[in-house]
Symmetry: C2
Subunit: 133 residues, 2 copies
């Protein structure tokens, strides 16, 4: 493998992604096909690493692959009009805010359980209430 470039296994290790998943992202056009070595091995750059890391973390946050694609397009598509970027970004922003609020409520309940446990009491668990309507 050439200096500065990464094998598919390297990329997998550094992002916590299975090799098969990386090839799957390439197949569906989410991650661009990298250069190949003489022996037909995929040879990735730092850009691929950053992009894959973004994809994985956005997925972990509950965004669908199509939403991830839209977020990546915000970054890629220089031809897109400013107002379009603005609209899409604002949509995602409100979704992100909602998720942060939900996670904070869940966090509070988990924390309650831990502190109650360590002081020996088992008070009523309100974990379901934390994410109820």
């Amino acid at each position: 493998m050439q200096a500065g470039n990464l094998s598919i296994g390297d990329l997998g290790h550094q992002t916590g992604t299975k090799v098969e998943t990386i090839r799957y992202y390439e197949r569906i056009g989410l991650l661009s096909a990298p250069a190949r070595t003489a022996g037909n091995y995929r040879s990735y750059t730092k850009d691929h690493l950053n992009r894959l890391s973004f994809i994985r973390r956005a997925r972990d946050l509950g965004f669908s692959l199509e939403q991830v694609r839209a977020l990546l397009d915000l970054s890629d598509d220089r031809k897109r009009s400013c107002s379009a970027i603005d609209t899409i970004a604002k949509e995602h922003l409100s979704e992100v805010d909602r998720k942060i609020a939900d996670l904070k409520a869940l966090r509070r309940e988990l924390n309650n359980m831990i502190t109650q446990c360590s002081c020996g009491t088992v008070a009523d668990c309100r974990i379901i209430d934390s994410l109820s309507p």
Copy 2:
């Protein structure tokens, strides 16, 4: 439908869940089978509504069904030892903290894009960097 009780469609509307998905959760034992009306319709209670709301929002936050099951068990299983609850809750807590941090970074970048857009400039987009290694 009896007073105070909910049809599967009501439950779907109030939680943003497809009817088929609710039946799927029942089939895999995530949501308990409700009482039936004379006409064999499912008749849900407020408890079902709260539990389903929790499931949907936890799924939206990127937890797997098995993780959701574990979180619900924390609330259900009164026989579980305090130290077990403590361990599981702490694991989930650190994952929740990581997700909050990632969402805040993403939020910051989306916000940057919006403010840049509204003042007419199109500076370099750093959205990918926000969730890079």
